[in-house]
């Protein structure tokens, strides 16, 4: 279908976190929507307003089916952050560990140097200004107190902080170079690696999903209409859903009442109720138990009589 453009080599990073498949990169999200017909579900809310749940943002959560489809099409890979984290951090050899700790110390020292320099500069500036301020009014004698002028004189209250606070850190920092920074992330230590070999457990409705996706349909969760999927003939921004889809095993007995009620519901919302599933393979090849028979779908509408 659409996936034959120049961006075919793009690899979408799908993070598997606590059994969920998440995409964090907005370019990836646009890419899978445009080229693979996967719109998935935005799940991210705002940290400042976690109860906001209408206009959600990144990350996007994929169905296991969608993740598998992308991996099967070689358009994406699964990044298992937890496993990566543990294995890659454990794999560090002592020399690399020592180098890492040293780099943390250097970072800290460099940061301290920058801060010290800044402080020295601002101190010098303040001293200069205060000297000028105390000289002009001539209310006090030549002796410049450490903090008295700043408090006594209204106009210099805001731009001249008490010097008492400035001086001690300079002295302390000099002896504390042995301390290191404690980073809050291990991301600098981890090289993201595709672990798409990890099997993706998909529900039994995967064949139906793949069948519909292959025909250019967009699929969103179907719970609001009581089905497995809502199926759109194009991007859901532009179209209403055509079908409420339910997937069944080939020999699962479907109560007629379910068909009738779903058919009624579908017609009430101007949709067709679709039931489908994969037929078992006609003549199974010896040794392989894989079922890759054709997918059959049936569409049900109220007949209006």
């Amino acid at each position: 279908m659409m996936a034959s453009s120049g961006t075919a080599e793009r690899q979408v990073r799908i993070s598997r976190i606590a059994g969920r498949y998440l995409v964090f990169d907005i370019d990836d999200v646009a890419y899978i929507r445009r080229h693979h017909g996967i719109c998935a579900v935005f799940t991210g809310t705002m940290p400042q307003n976690p109860t906001q749940n209408v206009f959600l943002g990144l990350p996007v959560e994929l169905y296991a089916e969608e993740a598998k489809l992308l991996v099967d099409k070689k358009a994406g890979y699964i990044a298992d952050d937890l496993a990566d984290h543990l294995s890659q951090l454990k794999a560090l050899d002592p020399a690399a560990r020592a180098a890492y700790f040293q780099s943390l110390k250097t970072q800290r020292r460099n940061a301290q140097l920058v801060i010290d320099e800044d402080k020295a500069k601002s101190l010098a500036r303040h001293m200069e200004r205060r000297k000028a301020a105390t000289v002009q009014p001539d209310t006090r004698p030549s002796e410049v107190a450490a903090e008295a002028p700043a408090i006594a004189e209204g106009d210099s209250l805001f731009d001249a902080p008490p010097t008492k606070r400035v001086s001690p850190p300079v002295a302390v920092a000099k002896d504390q170079t042995s301390l290191a920074l404690t980073p809050t992330t291990s991301s600098t230590l981890i090289v993201p690696q595709p672990t798409s070999s990890a099997a993706i457990e998909v529900p039994s409705s995967y064949p139906l999903y793949a069948y519909l996706n292959q025909r250019g349909y967009f699929i969103t969760p179907g719970l609001r209409f009581g089905g497995d999927y809502s199926v759109y003939p194009g991007d859901p921004f532009r179209y209403h859903a055509h079908y409420l889809a339910n997937s069944y095993e080939w020999d699962t007995e479907i109560p007629m009442l379910d068909i009738v009620t779903s058919g009624r519901l579908g017609t009430a919302v101007k949709k067709s109720y679709l039931l489908g599933g994969q037929a078992p393979e006609q003549d199974p090849v010896v040794g392989s138990e894989k079922t890759s028979g054709e997918v059959r779908v049936f569409c049900i509408e109220w007949a209006g009589m």
Binding site: R215, P233, H242, Y243, Y248, E249, W250, D251, T252, E253, I254, P255, M256, L257, I259, V260, G263, G266, T267, K270, K271, S272, L274, L275, G276, G277, A279, R296, V297, F298, C299, I300, E301, W302, A303, G304, M305
Partner: protein, 166 residues
Amino acid sequence: MSSDQQPLEALAQIVLNNLENQHDWTETKVHSQANLPRQLIYGLPPNRLYVHPDEQIEIIKAEKDLEKPILQVPEFEWVLPLHLAEKWSLAEFAAVFDAIDAVPPPAQDPASESGSAADVAGEQQQQQKLWKVPKRGKRLLLATVQNDSTVTYYWMHDGLVKPRQN
């Protein structure tokens, strides 16, 4: 007639009665076939029952050009009698669809195709014919019978068929 076929016979009879007497179908017939799990019914409804949304668009366009409504001729339809308490699998539905032709037997021989749409311009008639045979997908009416002998009808299409815009 074997005894296990009797309930199905009765079911088909209920649906047949309902079609003829409540919905005014004509030329109804019970259809038996070796590879069918049960008897089907086919018949001619008084009005055209199903218009594919794409065909409907074509009709509207043609009517606009002709500046008069195009007469819709009823088509023969398949009916599958079912009881509401039954359970059917995809395999069984697939078996029914595999066994039938898209068009029920009486409509297949051109003799029964009366040219009642003769007033339609030639080209439009051709277009309409296209929808009657080659473009017509397999479809059947699920006639679900309830214990109080209410029968409700649902279209079931083979394959992806988009919903009608009511």
